[in-house]
């Protein structure tokens, strides 16, 4: 992890940084206070916009000098034209979205590539928790079952299958453990967080 990503506690940000080029147009869905965009602008020289629904997030993003657009994620993309962005990012949010396929389709409509990160439900510690009879609570799944914003629980293998079914090309996949270290082998077992770079076939 770079110092920036360590400070933010978001190892996936480093992966995403590595996938964007200077002057690219990046749209971050669910951008919160704009931390990722701020990092990408400072370290990669991108041109960034974010979509955020929450009042506190929008206010913080404006304070951070971010081009934040207050909107619901699922309707927010409809106003954008095809291919307006080089990268459309959805970090740690896909599991909270009801219309999973529609949001991915929309991301790949307005963007040349989509970058998606999500917690891997099949991570061995999560499996252990379920084996022990409890829903997992971890670094990447930090919520109790009764107050989680997550409504879709899926694994790396599940997501691969969905991409194949939707004829989406996985250009790159990075998998991290709960310390933020890269996982090369047995990713669906040893990986806590997955980051995908997707494109239309």
């Amino acid at each position: 992890m770079t110092e920036n990503a360590i400070a933010l506690g978001r190892p996936d940000f480093d992966v995403i940084s590595g996938w964007v080029q200077p002057n690219e147009r990046v749209l971050d869905l669910g951008c919160g206070d704009g931390s990722l965009l701020k990092l990408l602008i400072a370290t990669r020289g991108v041109r960034g916009w974010g979509i955020e629904l929450d009042n506190a997030g929008v206010l913080a993003a404006i304070g951070n000098g971010i081009n934040v657009i207050q909107s619901d994620l699922e309707v927010g993309l409809s106003g954008f034209e095809n291919g307006e962005f080089d990268h459309v990012v959805l970090s740690r949010t896909l599991q909270t979205v009801r219309h999973t396929q529609r949001i991915i389709e929309e991301m790949l409509r307005v963007g040349r590539e989509a970058v998606v990160s999500f917690p891997n439900f099949a991570y061995w510690k999560n499996r252990m928790a379920v084996m022990a009879g409890r829903m997992p609570v971890s670094e990447d799944l930090p919520f109790q079952w009764f107050d989680t914003p997550n409504i879709r629980f899926f694994t790396i293998a599940d997501f691969d299958a969905l991409c194949a079914a939707m004829r989406i090309v996985v250009r790159e996949r990075m998998v991290l453990d709960d310390k933020g270290n890269t996982v090369k082998d047995e990713q669906n077992f040893l990986g806590s967080l997955a980051v995908y770079r997707l494109a239309r076939g």
Binding site: R47, L59, A61, I62, V68, I69, Q70, S71, G79, E84
Partner: protein, 376 residues
């Protein structure tokens, strides 16, 4: 945070003797603009903010004009502007003016036409948002302001801010476009035309030259304002504030005031008709109708906004049905399409179009956060 009003303010007037050719081709030979300023222009001239007014607004934006009647004479956006307020006069030099065609001291239909010695009346040409920007630029020149740190406005005022970024891109660094739209819809124009018809068909209108008959079309202006006022409020707010409440004890089975809402609207109409000029009202509604910066580029708003180099703050309000959030999103989407800098907040508010004048915590926090970002 302690905030206070800018205090007692006095209007100033600037005279412009060079003729101004309007978009219509008409020429205003010379004109006065009445304005107020708050705060201090810094040595670099880099902290100036222009506040543009809406349909019935004017130069008296903040502070009070009469220390004996502070409450009654507060500016129309006093809650937004002052030391420690979202538009902080400790940081910024704020300019508010009455637009050309207005009725608060700037040259308009009720001013004397030097050619005749009578009020301009029907002879005053219709002005557009583009014309206002040109007139405002002359005021900027006069005040020694090469480039505004920001041009800010709500409703028709937001349209002026938008037009500034298109017409004079190197003279505006930021634009705050609040409760506005990139053009009026047929429904918007329809409401405006009914309002105009109320004035134009009032027998006291005299073709716009009512001044020489020592009368004014108060009935028409009253109706126009009543209609307009309905479009500034929200259904929710009206239901909450008035509902079906009656003014008296039970129904009277007549056409007098029975419901609270009738009483309220009539009061608002009467009050407005007592101080606003009917010709200015006509002119302002026409400026609204004509506003369509994308027209010249075949309706392509992004193309129209392409020359803009300003950064934008766009704000809309959830219950504003006159210029709904979707209209603001048209502006936002066009800016994003161009790769331009824009922040957009949609404020949950129950006050309809008038929300932009209200003190709302999130709204004011957003404006404050954006204004804090502006380097001076």
């Amino acid at each position: 945070m302690s905030t206070h009003s800018v205090g007692h303010v006095t209007a100033q007037s600037a005279r412009f003797d060079e003729p101004l050719t309007l978009k219509s081709g008409a020429v205003v030979p010379a004109f006065d603009l009445v304005y107020e300023t708050y705060g201090t222009l810094n040595a670099a001239g880099s902290n100036a903010i222009l506040v543009c007014h809406a349909l019935s607004g004017h130069h008296h934006v903040a502070g009070y004009s009469d220390p004996e009647r502070v409450k009654e004479t507060l500016g129309w956006w006093d809650n937004m502007i002052g030391p420690g307020r979202p538009i902080d006069t400790d940081k910024f030099f704020v300019v508010g003016l009455n637009n050309l065609g207005g009725c608060h001291g700037s040259t308009g239909p009720s001013s004397l036409n030097p050619a005749t010695g009578h009020p301009w009346g029907a002879d005053f040409p219709l002005v557009t948002v583009e014309d206002w920007v040109q007139a405002q630029a002359r005021l900027a020149d006069r005040l020694g302001i090469d480039c505004w740190a920001a041009v800010i406005g709500g409703s028709l005022g937001g349209m002026q801010a938008l037009q500034w970024t298109i017409d004079l891109p190197d003279r505006v660094r930021h634009a705050a476009v609040i409760a506005a739209a990139p053009k009026l819809t047929a429904e918007n124009i329809a409401f405006n035309d009914v309002a105009r018809q109320a004035i134009l068909t009032d027998p006291d209108f005299h073709g716009g030259n009512f001044y020489r008959h020592h009368t004014k079309p108060a009935r028409g202006l009253r109706l126009a304002r009543m209609l307009g006022h309905i479009t500034y409020l929200s259904d929710d707010q009206m239901a909450e504030k008035f509902g079906r409440k009656l003014k008296g004890e039970g129904l009277a089975y007549g056409f007098g005031v029975e419901f609270e809402i009738e009483s309220y609207l009539r009061y608002q109409g009467d009050k407005f008709a007592s101080w606003f000029d009917a010709n200015t009202y006509l002119l302002m509604t026409k400026a609204l109708d004509y506003f369509d910066p994308a027209h010249a580029s075949g309706g392509n708003l992004a193309a129209a906004l392409a020359p803009a180099t300003a950064k934008f703050l766009v704000v809309s309000f959830s219950t504003d049905w006159r210029f709904s959030p979707a209209r603001s999103r048209e502006i936002v989407n066009a800016l994003v399409h161009n790769g331009q800098d824009v922040a957009y907040a949609e404020i949950a508010s129950s006050f309809g179009h008038d929300s932009f004048l209200m003190k709302d915590e999130q709204y004011h926090a957003i404006v404050r956060a954006y204004m804090n970002r502006i380097a001076v």
